[in-house]
Every structure is written in structure tokens, then in C-alpha cells.
């Protein structure tokens, strides 16, 4: 069976990473920005798994588990912050959250 070349994984993860980055920059809803960040993290996971499969080395796959658990911890904190914000200002739009300016 012919293995899938590593470039395919990298191009796909590069595209997903770019979609995530563009989402973070263009979207204004805090939750959707956070979802875009999760997309970026998942594209990195794909890169790790692709390389690990290519080298026949499991440490890249272990790294993916750590990335996933850290992303879960980050999600917990992030949603807590968004809820704290919503209680004060009834919005999750980042354009309306700008009293700190020079």
C-alpha cells in the first residue's frame, strides 16, 4: 500500500491553520474567535501526527494528547472569562470591549 506523502498533510494543515488565523483576525464575536483558535491548534495536531507517522516516531503523537488537554483547560478558562464579561456588559462582541485605550 502506498503511504500518503508528508506534503499532503502539511499542505492541508497549512490551509486549516490559515483559515483559523483569518477567522481570528476578521471575526468580532469572542466565541467564534476562540473557535478559530481551536481550529489552529487542531491543524498543528495534524502536522504532528503527519510527521510522527512519517518518521515512525511516537513522540509527536504524544505531543498531540498534551495539546488537546491544554486546549481543554484553555477552553474552560476562556468560557469563564466570556461569562464574567457577559454578566457585566451583556455582549461578547470584541469591538464593544475597548475602554482601555491610549
Amino acid at each position: 500500500m502506498q503511504a500518503i506523502p508528508i506534503e499532503y498533510y502539511l499542505v492541508l494543515s497549512g490551509i486549516i491553520f490559515s483559515i483559523g488565523t483569518i477567522g481570528v483576525i476578521t471575526r468580532r464575536n469572542a466565541i467564534i474567535i476562540f473557535m478559530s483558535i481551536e481550529l489552529m491548534l487542531n491543524s498543528v495536531n495534524l502536522t504532528f501526527v503527519g510527521f510522527a507517522a512519517n518518521f515512525g516516531d511516537s513522540s509527536g503523537q504524544v505531543f498531540v494528547f498534551f495539546v488537546m488537554s491544554v486546549a481543554a483547560a484553555e477552553a474552560a478558562i476562556g468560557l469563564a472569562i466570556v461569562i464574567a464579561l457577559f454578566r457585566i456588559k451583556q455582549t461578547v462582541n470584541v469591538d464593544e470591549i475597548n475602554i482601555l485605550k491610549w
Binding site: 508528508i6 510527521f51 464574567a84 464579561l85 470584541v94 482601555l100
Partner: protein
């Protein structure tokens, strides 16, 4: 195996105590001082263990054992541990007084300090990209909570949200960089193995260049370097003042420890002359480009930080921009990529920790009533409160790098290290931006000493634990300025 456990104990112990303190916190009910003293004793214990393991470096890291070679022992990691522990203790003292003055004392803050110290010492002890990533995340997630700690105040929550979104965004770049370096080196995560592989030049240079650039983007976010510094002023202004002091000193030092680890492994300079080949030449090209990338980031960071600080009217925001500028100075040590540069970073982050936390404690004391912290609120401080004004003056002189205070020898070491490595232009930029910075540091002193206010401050500030922080910081700023050689020699011997 027990030796292995002992050598890595600052990391293991701080992690274990951070978990235990949550239980202490949960079962101690309304008793706030129990958590406080538990955090204090834990930090002191971690500090003592770090000091004990400091001289044990140089011993080979045993294969297998407790950490399987993923955690580095003693030496410079222990010095960084001590820095984090001191910053934690100073913040612990000051935050109790500060939170009481703001009428929002919550004991969770004390356990958060312990968690942050755990994350930061994990970074300093990392011998593997995985450990580095986990450490950076433990530290960052704790800082997101600390920034939003006053959860009923909009500025604090806004700071937390901005910090969280941009920090998580930066994490994406950081691990994408790690993934590409993993690919470029053919499946290596261990820093020593990566360093050995770099010396042979047997890597994929396309992945390596993109990966290294992404890693630098992610880490310069954490140190608040240009062009990724935009979050820093907002977050530092909105966060509780003591949390800002802690994040902008210990957090910056931890991010720089990570940068030292990465650049030490990935930018080797001692190539074997017998092995010169196309690969090695490409490798030296890569190191030169990488140093130039960091040098340009460093130069722009200090210029942007200092010039933006000049126009600020809010003292906390001014100190935030000055903190951005200091990230620029500290990056000079990374550019020089030598033992002199790295020990300059350690020395300067130590001195910077004392003066910046001290300055933020003064800001926190003045801020006491209705959150004022504009420059004009400091007018006539020398008359109403001569001691506080004098101490703030010392911190300002030290931040500006004027002898005989701790900031001067640190800046001097970094400037010399940059010249030694052939980046004279960077030193010239640094000197120019230091001169710009004197304008606003001395400006604050002018407000305190040479202007009379229409509404003089009448209230006196009594003795509290924050006073202890101020006294310790002042003593160390002066000691580090007058006797810098003790620390410098100690640090140089440990690399």
C-alpha cells in the same frame, strides 16, 4: 532514582504544593491567612530546594529515572527558580495589603501565585519542547485568571479577555513552530538532541526556517516584543496592580528563559571545522538570519516601547510601555547568543524584577482611593509622603539605568554582550532609546518633587505587608547596583 527526584524537586514540589493548596483553600473556609501562610511556606520551601540543587549542575542527566531526561537540573534553571520564588513572595506580601485596600480579598489569588511559579519553573527546567509547551501553558492560563481576578470590574475582565484571546492565538503559532521543528529535525523534541543535530547541519532547512520564525513569533508574544506587544499595555493597565507586577517581571523572565533554551539549542556557533560542507554553510546562514531577526525585533521593541511611554498620562500604562521597552533590552542578550549575554539576561531580569515589582507596589498604594493613578496624582508626593516618594525615585532611577542602582550593571552587561557579538548598531539604538526613556522616568520624579498640587494628598499610609515588599525591593535594587559582581560571577559559572 532518588537523586533524580531530588534534582528536579523544585518542579515536582511546586506542582504538588500547588495542587495541595487548592485543597487547603477549599477546606479552610473563611480563614484567609491559612492559605496565605501555606503559599508563603511553599514558596520558601521551593526556593530552598532550588538553592540546594543549584550547584549540582554538570552531572549527567540520567537516562530513564523519574523524568526520563526531559527535565534539566540545577544550574541556571535553579537561578531562574529562585527569581520566580522571590517574585512570588514579594507579590504575595504586596497583594494581601492591596486586596484588603481594594476590599476584595479573595484567597484564591495566593494559590494562583503558586500555580504560576510552578509553570514558570517548569519552563526554566525544560529539556524538551513538550515540557516547555506545558510550562508555558500552565503559566499563561494562570495569568489569564490573574488578569481577570477582579471579576466584577469591567477593566479587569476586559484585560483578561484580551490577554486570553491573544495569548491563545500566540500559542497556536508557538506549537506550529514546534511541530515544524519536530519535522525539520526528523522527529526530535529534546533540546540536547536538537542541538547535536544542528551541529551536523543534517536538517530540512525550509521547515526549520518557518518553524523557527513561528516559534519566535509565539515567544515574542509572551515577552511582549514588537510587533506583538499590543496586548501588553491594555492587559497591564486593566489587571490588578499586583498581578501586573508579577506578570511583567516573573512572566517576562520565564519567557526569556524559554528563549534562552530554544536559541541555545538551535543557534550553535561551534561547528567542527573538519566537517565544513554545504549543509554547514547553510546552517551558518540560518544562524545569522535568525540573529538578525531577533536583533530587529529587539531594536524596534525598545524604540516603540519607550516612545509610546513618553506620551502616557497614566502611570500604570507608562510602566507597561516601559516594560515592553525592557523586553527589547533583554532580547539583546538573546541576540548576542553567548554566555555573557545570557548571564546579562539573568542579572537584568533579577534587578528588573525588584524595581518593577517595587514600582507597581507604590502605584498600588497610591491607587488605594477610587483607582486614581494619573501622573498628576503624584504631584507633591515628596511633601505628603517623603519615604514613598524617595523609594519611587530610586525605582525610577534604576529603571532608567542610572548608577548606582541595579538597572545600570544589567544594562551595561547586555550592551557589552551585544557589542562583543558584532551588533554595535543594536547597542547604539539601545543607548538612544535609554536616553528617550530618561524623559518619562525623570518626568515622574519631577511631578513628585518639583510640582505643588492644588489638592495635596493628606492620607498617611500605615505599615503593612506591602511595606515589607518595598523595603526588600529597595535594598536589593541598591545591593545589586553596588555589588553586581557576586551575582554575575555566580551566574556565569553556572552556564
Amino acid at each position: 532514582m532518588w537523586n533524580d527526584l531530588l534534582m528536579g524537586s523544585p518542579v515536582y514540589l511546586s506542582a504538588a504544593l500547588a495542587i495541595i493548596i487548592i485543597l487547603v483553600d477549599a477546606f479552610s473556609g473563611k480563614n484567609k491567612s491559612l492559605t496565605f501562610y501555606f503559599a508563603l511556606i511553599s514558596l520558601i520551601a521551593v526556593g530552598i530546594l532550588s538553592a540546594y540543587t543549584m550547584n549540582m549542575h554538570g552531572q549527567p542527566v540520567p537516562e530513564g529515572g523519574f523524568s526520563n531526561g526531559m527535565i534539566a537540573y540545577g544550574g541556571i534553571s535553579a537561578v531562574f527558580d529562585i527569581l520566580f520564588v522571590i517574585a512570588g513572595i514579594l507579590t504575595l506580601f504586596a497583594s494581601q495589603s492591596y486586596m484588603r485596600a481594594q476590599n476584595v480579598e479573595r484567597k484564591e489569588f495566593y494559590s494562583l501565585i503558586l500555580f504560576a511559579v510552578c509553570g514558570m519553573s517548569t519552563i526554566a527546567h525544560a529539556n524538551n519542547m513538550l515540557i516547555l509547551f506545558v510550562g508555558i501553558e500552565i503559566m499563561s492560563i494562570t495569568f489569564y485568571i490573574m488578569a481577570g481576578f477582579f471579576r466584577e470590574r469591567f477593566t479587569s475582565v476586559e484585560a483578561a479577555l484580551k490577554y486570553f484571546l491573544l495569548g491563545a492565538f500566540a500559542t497556536g503559532f508557538l506549537i506550529y513552530g514546534m511541530a515544524l521543528i519536530y519535522g525539520a529535525t526528523g522527529g526530535l523534541l529534546d533540546f540536547e538532541a536538537i542541538g547535536a543535530k544542528m551541529l551536523t547541519g543534517n536538517v530540512d532547512f525550509l521547515y526549520l526556517r518557518i518553524g523557527f520564525a513561528l516559534l519566535i513569533v509565539g515567544l515574542s508574544f509572551k515577552v511582549a516584543a514588537f510587533p506583538f506587544h499590543q496586548w501588553a499595555p491594555d492587559v497591564y493597565q486593566g489587571a490588578p496592580t499586583m498581578a501586573t507586577g508579577f506578570m511583567s517581571t516573573a512572566g517576562k523572565a520565564a519567557a526569556l528563559a524559554a528563549l534562552i533554551l530554544v536559541t541555545k539549542a538551535m543557534l550553535p556557533s561551534n561547528f567542527d571545522p573538519a566537517l565544513i560542507s554545504d549543509k554547514i554553510i547553510e546552517m551558518t546562514d540560518f544562524t545569522t538570519d535568525a540573529k538578525w531577526l531577533i536583533a530587529i525585533i529587539s531594536a524596534l521593541t525598545m524604540l516603540v516601547g519607550n516612545i509610546s511611554a513618553v506620551v502616557q498620562k497614566n502611570v500604570k500604562r507608562m510602566l507597561a510601555y516601559s516594560s515592553v521597552a525592557h523586553a527589547g533590552y533583554l532580547l539583546m542578550g538573546i541576540v548576542s547568543n553567548s554566555i555573557n549575554g545570557w548571564s546579562g539576561i539573568v542579572f537584568y531580569s533579577m534587578a528588573y524584577m525588584f524595581m518593577q515589582i517595587g514600582a507597581f507596589v507604590v502605584v498600588g498604594i497610591i491607587e488605594k482611593n477610587d483607582g486614581r493613578m494619573d501622573l498628576k496624582d503624584y504631584t507633591g508626593l515628596s511633601k505628603t509622603n517623603p519615604m514613598l516618594a524617595a523609594i519611587m525615585g530610586i525605582f525610577m532611577f534604576s529603571l532608567a539605568g542610572i548608577p548606582p542602582f541595579g538597572g545600570f550593571p544589567g544594562k551595561y552587561m547586555l550592551f557589552i554582550a551585544a557589542i562583543e557579538s558584532g551588533f554595535t548598531w543594536l547597542t547604539i539604538v539601545a543607548v538612544i532609546s535609554t536616553i528617550i526613556s530618561i524623559y518619562f522616568y525623570i518626568g515622574l520624579i519631577v511631578y513628585m518633587y518639583f510640582k505643588d498640587s492644588e489638592t495635596p494628598m493628606t492620607e498617611k499610609f500605615g505599615f503593612s505587608k506591602a511595606t515589607l515588599t518595598l523595603v526588600i525591593s529597595t535594598i536589593f535594587v541598591i545591593l545589586l547596583g553596588i555589588f553586581p559582581t557576586y551575582l554575575i560571577d555566580l551566574v556565569k559559572g553556572l552556564f
